[in-house]
């Protein structure tokens, strides 16, 4: 075989692959949104508005993290969204918190309208030592308060970690733009009372988490 036909063949191959190339990334992004819209329908309480992405959801929908400026904006917006608990009361009942942490229900299309949601916590975290069926998507929360030196939740030296924990549960994106954790307070998944109970599970020195 001479050189000429081989070059011609290569050029032809280039031409073919060029013709048959997939659309540009921006066009693919547009097609994806179109496809999502066309593929889903509402069912029960799960309406189509759940596909409307806010800035953070859109920016964190890729295998690459968003630009630093975008991440900062998401975190600042999230921090500003946090509603601190009424009366400065951060802690509820750790027993109720444990029940809530075990409960993985809520907000699916098979859930009844207005049904209270669980915390889904054990799906992703180790919490109390006695529950061996725990997930590992999030970090272990066993000894959460103890490891952070919380001996008295009301003490001034505990204030920073207590507030951070509330903020993390309320809107996790305040501290990590693309955190995998739901925004339990911001998205209205959990009530203030429920969040207080989870706080107690994590921080109350009497909670099994801190034994």
């Amino acid at each position: 075989m001479t050189h000429t036909p081989r070059i011609a063949l290569a050029a032809a191959a280039l031409l073919v692959s060029g013709c048959a190339s997939t659309p540009a990334p921006a066009e693919l992004d547009r097609l994806t949104l179109e496809m999502m819209k066309a593929s889903f329908r509402e069912q029960g309480i799960a309406k189509l508005d759940r596909l409307q992405q806010d800035l953070g959801q859109a920016a964190c929908s890729s295998d690459k993290p968003p630009a630093e400026a975008v991440a900062k904006e998401i975190e600042a917006t999230a921090l500003a969204s946090i509603k601190w608990p009424e009366g400065g009361r951060y802690l509820g009942d750790w027993r109720a918190g444990e029940t809530l942490a075990q409960n993985g229900r809520g907000m699916t299309w098979t859930d009844a309208p207005g049904a209270p949601s669980g915390g889904n916590c054990y799906n992703c975290h180790q919490i109390s030592k006695s529950e061996i069926s725990y997930g590992t998507i999030g970090p272990s929360l066993y000894n959460y308060g103890k490891l952070r030196g919380v001996k008295d939740v009301a003490a001034p030296e505990s204030a920073a970690i207590v507030q951070y924990t509330w903020g993390k549960i309320y809107n996790s994106k305040a501290y990590n733009a693309c955190s995998g954790m739901p925004r339990f307070g911001h998205a209205g998944v959990l009530t203030q009372t429920q969040m207080r109970d989870l706080m107690a599970l994590l921080l109350d020195p009497a909670s099994p988490v801190n034994q």
Binding site: P23, A46, R50, C60, Y122, G188
Partner: protein, 264 residues
Amino acid sequence: MRRLIVGAMALACVQLVHAQPTTAEGIARYREMLADGNPADLFEAKGEGLWKQKRGPKVASLEQCDLGKGRGVVKGAFVELPRWFADTQRVQDLESRLLTCMETLQGLDPTVIAATPFGRGEQANMEALAAYVSAASRGQKMSLPQGHTKEREMFELGKRVFFFRGGPYDFSCASCHGEAGKRIRLQDLPELTKNPGDGIGFAAWPAYRVSSGEMWSMQRRLNDCYRQQRFPFPGFASDATIALGVYMGVNAKGAESIAPAIKR
């Protein structure tokens, strides 16, 4: 003497601690015990009967169905799906293609089937057919074609769908399946952004679910993932679900298919 006994007991206790299998080992043993006698066999047999049975308004079997390797070829079809089909001008997954054949060959209404709840009526038949078709490729390696532009485009779209965050929990498929070595409760989560290995993830569905005692196709698997993602309802055999199949299937290239498997 007494001291000796105490010493022996202490030793026994130490041995006990060492002998105590970890939770992961216990779960692995449980799965191993279930693998011998997978009720998916029952669905596979039912599916084979349905494939050959003359049914529907046109009183025809599915034996002339083209699953991508020519009319009536079942063996090897599963590990190459989803793929492009010229007759429908679509990239189709197994269930979507079965739907096409049920319509064109048997005269059944695909919109009615797509709207039927999982596990009932023609949807139950669909699960059995999926079990039968996948079983015919058991032990083969996943090998989805990517020659057609639309197949490559669906891969790209599937990747974007996989990472699409939404709903009140901000979840995407990647929330659970984007990293290796993670689990929900005690269930291991396959990392689906790459080849997760033989018989894991895409290469393990359809599967018999022991929790519900039912056969689940990949369509049903994805549907329940989206339910737990707190998303709206993905249409049966909709393009987003097929695109996800292309993304996961291409990533799983070379992984051995064990479908229909048995799962918690």
